[in-house]
């Protein structure tokens, strides 16, 4: 009885369709060399952009051939190094075809973030963020408005504009750091106040010496509030070129 049950079950659930003759089978093998992982190169573009609605007008604008207004492509300025082996901060001044094509898309999304650099250190911020810097800005008093102009990344939900990676300094040249064009964005921060750490007391003494010196430390930190993060549109950016 058990055996019969097993054979019945096998008959019901195991389907073994008979293959057609070889000459009727398709030529393609069942094997594939396509990777199905979710790396950026593998995911087809419509799927990457699927979460983002692009209006018909925007699509038309993107697909139109690039027309560079006069003065948009100045020659890449060869930064004259004041001293050899000095660190070079190269701020982009060019409107590349890539920016021309994708800046409208970046601008059309509502929320943006920036990776600002203060004294070479990066901070990823968006509007309304409070940044407690790990140092005190001696020249910025509470109530001052700062304009931040060194940025390496401008991003939104689906797009990111990145500056090239920094190049390590070698025997022949100093460190090269690349930043995005200042005219692409506006970032303002207000100095909200100055915080301090809890007081630390360090005891300094020597062996077989009764006197103990107490050194107190209270370090101060500047607190900024990012009041404005704005990414310019392509038209506004092109106008900046016409100004210069």
């Amino acid at each position: 009885m058990a055996l019969l049950g097993q054979t019945l079950r096998r008959g019901l659930f195991e389907t073994r369709p008979t293959l057609p003759p070889t000459f009727l089978l398709p030529f393609r093998a069942g094997l594939t060399t396509i990777s199905y992982s979710l790396e950026t190169g593998n995911v087809p573009e419509p799927l990457i952009q699927s979460g983002h609605r692009i209006s018909a007008d925007l699509k038309e604008k993107i697909q139109s051939p690039p027309q560079f207004p006069k003065g948009t492509l100045p020659p890449a300025p060869s930064a004259a190094k004041p001293t050899h082996h000095a660190r070079e901060d190269q701020v982009s001044r060019q409107l590349t075809p890539n920016i021309r094509q994708l800046l409208p898309l970046l601008h059309s999304q509502s929320a943006h973030y920036l990776t600002i650099h203060i004294h070479g250190r990066p901070y990823l911020v968006t509007q309304g963020d409070t940044v407690r810097l790990p140092f005190l800005m001696p020249d910025a008093k509470p109530g001052d408005i700062l304009r931040l102009n060194r940025v390496t990344h401008i991003g939104s939900r689906d797009y990111t504009l990145k500056a090239p990676e920094a190049e390590k300094g070698t025997r022949d040249h100093g460190k090269r750091v690349f930043y995005l064009d200042e005219r692409l964005f506006v970032c303002r921060a207000a100095v909200v106040g100055i915080e301090s750490e809890p007081m630390r007391v360090m005891e300094k003494t020597k062996r077989r010496q009764r006197h103990v010196k107490h050194v107190k430390s209270i370090l101060k930190y500047t607190v900024l509030r990012i009041s404005e993060v704005e990414v310019k549109s392509l038209e506004e950016y092109e106008k900046e070129f016409a100004k210069n």
Binding site: H84, H119, K141, G143, D144, R147, N149, R150, R171, A189
Partner: protein, 92 residues
């Protein structure tokens, strides 16, 4: 006037006193210290004594310590657009 830009790449610990004396004379205290000396035969001879420890380049001008530090300083990344006290000033 051309200068040698000399950077100590390898430490002189464990080396003979005379060799360490050359490092001291050139002003190379620690690894990665960089000094500038004018191009003369005597300095060239000193470099030849410690040529395995050192990286040398010929440049046009000499920099002092302060200038070297300033050359490495990154851009501040901000400027003060408006002072908090600006509102208190009477309109002009």
């Amino acid at each position: 006037m051309p200068y040698f830009r000399i950077t100590l790449m390898r430490s002189g610990i464990g080396l003979p006193e005379k060799t360490q004396g050359v490092l001291k004379a050139l002003g190379l205290r620690k690894r990665m210290t960089t000094v500038y000396h004018p191009v003369t035969s005597s300095v060239a001879g000193q470099i030849m004594r410690i040529k395995e420890l050192v990286d040398v380049k010929e440049v046009g001008t000499a920099l002092n310590k302060k200038q070297m530090r300033e050359a490495r300083r990154p851009a501040p990344g901000y400027y003060v657009e408006r002072r908090g006290t600006a509102e208190l000033e009477p309109p002009q």
